[in-house]
Symmetry: C3
Subunit: 317 residues, 3 copies
């Protein structure tokens, strides 16, 4: 979609965060290290820091997502920025204004950063191509394409619990086809040197030629989970059910739901992750979700620190 890397400025510093694809390992590691400084020793030790005082962050959500919007809002307020929430679906878009007119207008209102969620792949990239040099764009999820901050907080979580990426077997399990999270995870894991990335899913929920990304495909949980260190579950979108990709949620759970019995097939110290919100009893059993190997709630906490890290790195440059 883009020629030279639009995420970096001339000095090779982070200018926008649009995708983990092509993000240099140095930048990726710097994000994780910076997040470490915000995360503190325990999950609840985040302090208020005046790094972004006087900056205006626009949460530009063309698709509703309270969870993601809230984490960015908290991260920005922790950095002392002013946050403006815009649910654009219900406002000027309905007046027939184009995406770029909306963005140009908000830029003219002295925005310093746009956090963009959009149902169309490439929306954040398009915006990044058109904003002025003082404005930074963070992709908070675009269509089926990318969700880089989710993938980065996942990497942060893995590093906290597993240290060395180069010794890990990681499985991504569920609806890979429609998942921007899975795409961003695969790119980040590969960059960080994970030697074996597996995807486990029914054929109907896998994109064509996914092997090109360097992943190993499994259609069977028992085989796919063997020797796994990290299980990255995906949310099963109820909407997909209706579109004939799957017979029923019960059927899905029967073959791909993560039960304690299935988790026992992975390594005994494997960790279980999920981007939330969970469908308990569909892709994951409550016993696993709330169990000792689950790091799902720490993921949420680390999400604040990682977003603070990205925001502070963007405005520093």
């Amino acid at each position: 979609m883009i020629g030279i890397n639009p995420q970096l400025d001339r000095n090779g510093d982070l200018r926008h965060l649009l995708t983990t694809e092509g993000l240099p390992i140095t930048i990726l590691q710097r994000i994780l290290d910076t997040a470490e400084s915000f995360a503190g020793v325990t999950e609840r030790e985040v302090k208020k820091i005046p790094l972004l005082r006087g900056k205006s962050i626009f949460n530009l959500f063309f698709e509703p997502s309270t969870r993601t919007r809230t984490t960015f809002e908290i991260a920005a307020k922790r950095l002392s920025a002013d946050v403006i929430n815009l649910n654009v679906a219900v406002s000027s878009q309905t007046k027939g204004e184009t995406l770029l007119d909306t963005v140009n207008n908000l830029s003219a209102m002295h925005a310093d950063m746009f956090v963009v969620r959009h149902s169309q792949s490439g929306a954040a990239h398009l915006i990044a191509q058109h904003v002025g040099p003082d404005i930074h764009v963070i992709n908070a999820g675009d269509g089926w394409h990318a969700h880089p901050t989710q993938a980065l907080l996942d990497m942060f979580t893995i590093r906290r619990y597993k240290q060395d990426f180069r010794a890990l077997r990681v499985a991504i399990i569920g609806d890979i086809l429609h998942s921007r999270v899975a795409r961003s995870q695969i790119h980040a894991l590969a960059t960080l040197g994970v030697p074996e990335i597996r995807v486990i899913a029914p054929k109907t929920l896998l994109p064509a030629k996914i092997e090109r990304l360097g992943v190993h495909v499994y259609h069977n949980m028992a085989q796919g989970l063997k020797d796994i260190d990290v299980l990255m579950m995906l949310r099963l979108q109820h909407e997909r059910m209706e579109s004939a990709h799957l017979p029923s949620t019960e059927e899905y759970f029967k073959y791909y739901g993560l039960t304690p019995e299935r988790l026992a097939l992975a390594k005994s110290d494997a960790i279980v992750m999920h981007p939330g919100p969970m469908n308990r009893g569909v892709e994951i059993d409550s016993e696993v979700a709330d169990g000792a190997q689950s790091v799902i709630l720490p993921q949420v906490s680390f999400g604040i620190a990682v977003r603070m890290a990205v925001m502070s790195m963007l405005t520093k440059n």
Copy 2:
């Protein structure tokens, strides 16, 4: 619903505010005294105070209420907290996430306090039972059960105008059956030593065995208002009309509406209160609502100070 008092910590300090039922008189009076320090001499003299700087308050509204949400938002901002508004009905709840998953996720986002409004009785209690030790819960109204901050601001208002609770006759008038406000008022008035609490309502709008709470029941305004010092009106929910509890709003006003003539039956220095929003011409005549004995707008002002007091006491402990 709960065994030992879940509202207090080991030292007997306020840990959550869930209901006025069982709230010790020492705590109740400390809230009123603390509110006094925020309220200033006139109603408009509230200052901005940095007591909650760096704290994140989540307004967690599962049921819409602009008024109540706004008062909590203002109170929190006056204390310099960061406020995150979440209208949960339209977000992750619709994605099938359970109440506790929502709360666990928000807790992981470094919430310091939840202000909870929910249509189901007991929702705030349930949340309070599951949050970690650093998080405080304020019940901003749960079903027909309780609305403690409303009752506390009512007590504050009474104390401002009437001083000694132990010399008062108080009447609560209207739809007692569906009113969480009435329940919280009765418990608070009893704790503060009000010797005579009356409820005035048609039989269809009274809960069974209400006398057990120590109140005197009247079905007639003329009798019920005699010698009364404080009139606490309740809002008549239009929704109730349709459910056959009442023939019509005109009929209701004819028998239970507070007119100047009826007000004259109470003590000459009686005060008139209403939690708002008012139905003028249904439960209250405009001449009374805007008259010299009305303290309805001061109630709103005091509501800010009382909520500031509760928030500051919770985070201090």
Copy 3:
């Protein structure tokens, strides 16, 4: 609608901003001068200033408008005020509360300023008549009546590009009939001494007896644009199409759309303005909207500075 000027206090200082009609030239110029101090040399040089620290600004929008609401929110936050957003259409109004009860309640919550958008003409005036002496009202658009901050930012933009108002020919083009913006512009232009104000529109989109405001009426773009220094385009409301005022948007564009060819009929250094959001291809061609003579995005930037100026002048008095 009002006798003596309700916008000024006894000392002749600004007390409310309700309309540009009757606003003294001294006040109008002071707003522009104050805005100049906030605007900086380039459009993006607005600093955060603690002038309104501790003040509570209520964005009271009875009609949705993300754009206008956002500019006021940013302006208020730049001045360090606390901002409370209230979308009143979906809240207490639906509970049958009257406009004045809503305002009285919010006043009791220690509001310092109301920014009011309402679909009914006169709503902001009505509120201004009823608030206490410490509360200031800004009209952010009422029905077809007035939108003074839009007109003021337009005046600011004209002054930046054209300096002397007394040497200008200005044309307002489009749906004058339904435009509160046009009314506010005409009054402001007249006060500032613009010698020739033209309106260009089809007869069906002109109010009766518009000439009484001192404007010259044209139904033809070629004639109306001759010797013009400033073109103020208006947004064509799609809703109006349906109400039989116009045959179709294509037909409208054919006769009144601003194309590069038509723009060439005005002075060669004429500037093109639009209050946004634009209907590209309806009232304005994209080539003009994005062209060298367009000052549409600077208008948006200046809107922040002008609103900061109005807010700071109101609270100073």
